[in-house]
């Protein structure tokens, strides 16, 4: 079970009063992390247009992520990838009832502020866009809007949580249609969690201090994570997920849900594939149900995919060392 606040630094939130003078607090850790809890066992789909957002909602997505270009097109286009047009984000917010997320560049405080003011439900500080600050991520405790961040390792995940991320997605390699990196990273995070849990269980406080120094995060955060043996926030898988079977496999590795980027709207059977991915994510424990979901897609219409070994641009490395 994921604690909603624990001993971590907390957002105290912004206080005001209701019409009948009852205290109201917004932007607390419970509200930001709790929002991510409501997405669990769901699929968040990347979209670039109102039409795609409607298809995603119809297919059973728990949320949509608005981008200017899908990750595979970002890859092809080159140049600088920035946050999506506010006009498109607004149109999508006016058209679907599910939560709407949008990406900002790593470290770009003002793209994030603009998205928060535009009232998106969650901001993704994302390596899919070109980083604006190579050395710093956004200090997310300053925001009322919750953030999700990517991570390839436990150290990266905990650094982002310490900066105020309310949700983590273990990174894959976006826009490749290749799930290998997503699998690599969730397994790595799981291994590292097992290691620190065993250190905690053996009562070795100095061992935890060493980990905290190595990870460049506080002792308290390492200790709390080690104690519960999982990330202290909701964790989704992301990057390169292309088929229902990909989604189900990642769920079986302990992910709380799935982000699908180019995998759906770069496939030629987007509508069926969106629905099939949702079904496989919900019923991942039932291999027969996953088979039925997999039947709904046509492999000839999948995103072609890229070999992750020979990529010129490795998005996952962006912001990783900070």
């Amino acid at each position: 079970m994921i604690p909603l606040s624990g001993d971590l630094p907390k957002s105290k939130g912004i206080k005001s009063e209701s019409v009948d003078s009852i205290g109201v607090t917004k932007g607390t850790s419970t509200l930001k992390r709790g929002f991510a809890h409501m997405l669990k066992n769901g699929v968040v789909m990347d979209v670039t247009t109102v039409e795609q957002a409607r298809i995603a909602e119809e297919a059973g997505a728990v949320s949509v992520m608005v981008l200017d270009k899908l990750p595979s097109d970002v890859r092809k286009a080159g140049g600088v990838a920035r946050t999506a047009s506010l006009r498109v984000i607004q149109e999508i917010m006016d058209s679907v009832t599910i939560p709407v997320m949008a990406k900002c560049r790593i470290g770009h405080v003002y793209e994030a502020k603009v998205l928060a003011e535009a009232n998106v439900d969650m901001v993704d500080e994302s390596e899919v866009l070109t980083p604006a600050d190579e050395n710093h991520h956004i200090w997310k405790w300053d925001f009322t809007t919750p953030f999700v961040n990517g991570a390839r390792s436990l150290a990266e995940a905990l650094r982002r949580i310490e900066e105020g991320a309310a949700m983590i997605r273990t990174k894959g390699e976006p826009g490749t249609g290749n799930v290998a990196e997503a699998i690599l990273h969730i397994k790595k995070v799981n291994d590292e969690l097992r290691t620190i849990k065993s250190i905690y269980d053996s009562g070795d406080k100095q061992g935890l201090v060493s980990i905290a120094r190595e990870f460049k995060v506080s002792f308290d955060l390492v200790e709390e994570t080690a104690k519960i043996g999982r990330l202290p926030v909701v964790n989704f898988a992301a990057g390169g997920i292309a088929t229902p079977a990909d989604a189900a496999y990642l769920m079986s590795l302990g992910c709380d849900g799935i982000f699908v980027g180019s995998g759906i709207f770069k496939a030629e059977d987007a509508m069926e594939r969106a629905r099939a991915t949702v079904l496989a994510t919900t019923f991942w424990e039932d291999a027969d149900a996953v088979k039925e979901a997999q039947k709904m897609i046509n492999e000839k219409q999948s995103i072609l995919g890229l070999d992750v070994k020979n990529l010129e641009l490795r998005m996952q490395d962006r912001g990783g060392s900070a």
Partner: protein
Amino acid sequence: MSELDIGILALQGDVAENFMSTMMAMNELGIDGSVSQVKTPDQISAVDGLIVPGGESTMMGQLSMVNGAMNALKEKIESGMPVLGICAGMILLAKNSKDRVVGSTKQPLLDVLDVEIERNSFGRQKDSFEAEVSLDAMEIPSFQGVFIRAPAVVKTGSGVETLGKFNEKIIAVKQGNILATSFHPELTRDVSLHKQFVKMVADSKN
């Protein structure tokens, strides 16, 4: 008396949190029983009471259409099984729902609770809030209400009792065996509302 079995509808959303709160509520009441996660019509038909958790109502509605859970749920609730709907769960139980911005949607609903819901009634995530609410009719004078993109009840039918209001909006209702809240009791450590629900289930079984 056989053991109480309370199910949590486990298609999507904060299932684990409701599982924990229900276990704690049973412990505090000293009631023997189990809590199970249910997805299929067979699993649904086996439980004595059910919680429809927080999450995305559109998604849960569509998924429960796919595997026949929708019909099984409706049948069980109409035949008197106690049910607690939280946030998305409240929407799913309702007769009608409209979104504050988008308006009418085609989302599938169970149509067992005679109310009309306004979805995202308090605004988007940035306007999600925590505030103390009172549910005097449930003998809960004070409860920390966690409202996340919360819905509110805008119209109630004749058999529906209003349990609580916030900012002049109805945020908790009861209609016979159906209990529903806009806020998330499972995100707090206070299990008094889950205790009331466990009692409802225990009473209905006796």
